[in-house]
């Protein structure tokens, strides 16, 4: 059905939709975040869920204390290496379809603690991240923006074909290896299927723009 016909029908009071639109509409407006925070970003996350910013306006107010009932993980705060296996394990325990928002500088790269020995340099080394929000910490508006961005991403997903989301691909993994505590560092120090360091220009030290799959 083309858009012109559809507009005409809706003007006459006939509402038409497709299964794909209905399915995505349902998914995107009822995201249940996992109720867990790691550091100061979590305070902003709480503020976003309370009366002043009211995350409920976007259908994501049902913070669940159990990963089994949640489908959105907001990694809000510094992920220490001691905490990283637990974060990955919580992600593994969430049912598909599931999404991850990496909130704040620490969760996306290690942030101000990046040069330390004990901080994970970005949670995307172990689990796939859908939306990254910069900020230290990001304001609640930024978290709302991330949620809206995630909703747009869900809305644009096709249910069939090559570009269908991971939870509709039977072979795609829904669990990711949990890193082990090693003698000097986490083992492995990253999931190479998910994350590889960008190529850095050896002269300037600036990363190339090319995207590493």
């Amino acid at each position: 059905m083309d858009d012109a016909l559809r507009n005409e029908l809706s003007r006459q009071g006939v509402f038409t939709t497709s299964l794909e639109e209905l399915y995505n509409w349902g998914r995107k407006n009822s995201l249940w975040p996992l109720s867990f925070g790691l550091a100061c970003c979590a305070i902003e996350m709480m503020a976003a869920s309370m009366a002043r910013w009211d995350l409920a306006r976007f259908g994501a107010e049902v913070f669940r204390p159990s990963p089994r009932q949640a489908d959105l993980m907001i990694v809000a705060g510094t992920v220490t290496k001691k905490m990283a296996p637990q974060v990955v394990r919580l992600y593994n325990q969430m049912p598909e379809p599931k999404y991850v928002i990496a909130m704040g500088a620490c969760a996306i790269s290690g942030g101000p603690f990046k040069q330390g020995y004990n901080v994970l340099k970005g949670i995307d080394r172990y689990i796939p991240v859908d939306v990254h929000i910069p900020g230290c910490p990001p304001r609640p508006e930024a978290l709302l923006h991330a949620l809206i961005t995630l909703q747009e991403k869900i809305d644009a997903q096709a249910l069939t074909g090559e570009r269908r989301p991971r939870h509709l691909v039977p072979d795609a993994p829904s669990e990711f290896p949990v890193p082990q505590y090693g003698e000097h560092d986490l083992e492995p120090s990253r999931n190479s299927d998910l994350w590889r360091p960008p190529r850095v220009d050896s002269e300037s030290g600036i990363p190339h723009a090319e995207k590493v799959a």
């Binding site: 001691k82 004990n118 000097h184 560092d185 850095v200 030290g205």
Partner: protein
Amino acid sequence: MEALESIKSRIEAAIPGSKLTIVADTGSAAQHSLWVDSGHGREVAAVLRDDPQLRLDYASNVTGVDWLDKVMKETVKTKQVIEGVDREIQQTIETKHPGYLEVVYHLYSMELKHGPLIIRLRTDNRSDQVRLPSLTPIWRGAEFQEREIYDLFGIVFEGHPDLRRILMWDGFKDHPMRKDYIEPDDYEYEPTAHDEIAEKAARHQK
């Protein structure tokens, strides 16, 4: 509070065999401290807590310090007679100071409202003689701080009620606050790398 010299002589008289040394602070803060020999650490601490004039009942802060081996160079001018002529010769004398690990306790008295008195305990070296008496039986509040020092510096506190790592996981082998600690090489890139961070990142590109 009583002068450090008088505390030192009183304690040395009270505990036979104990040896206290005043470590002078040449900076403007002039916070001089007492280096207590590790063999009598616990007894000295008990006296500091219970002595009616001191009553240091509160250990506010426990810190670890890592002192590396160091070589001090000193230039000395000596006069020597060479071939019948007096000559002044410059000589460089190298003295080696072996490194050690140190714990520093900042003590206050809640009762008498004075402090801080700073005491230090030093290990014999940085490798195998790293045992010191725990002062947790004297000041209960030192427990977690001594655990942290054990975790990050590797000083073993004898008589500690629960000596486990507190920040890093069990099975972690290193002591990250030691000056010769080599951190894991997981620093692959930095968006705006510079100096040693650019070098670190460049090593990963090979």
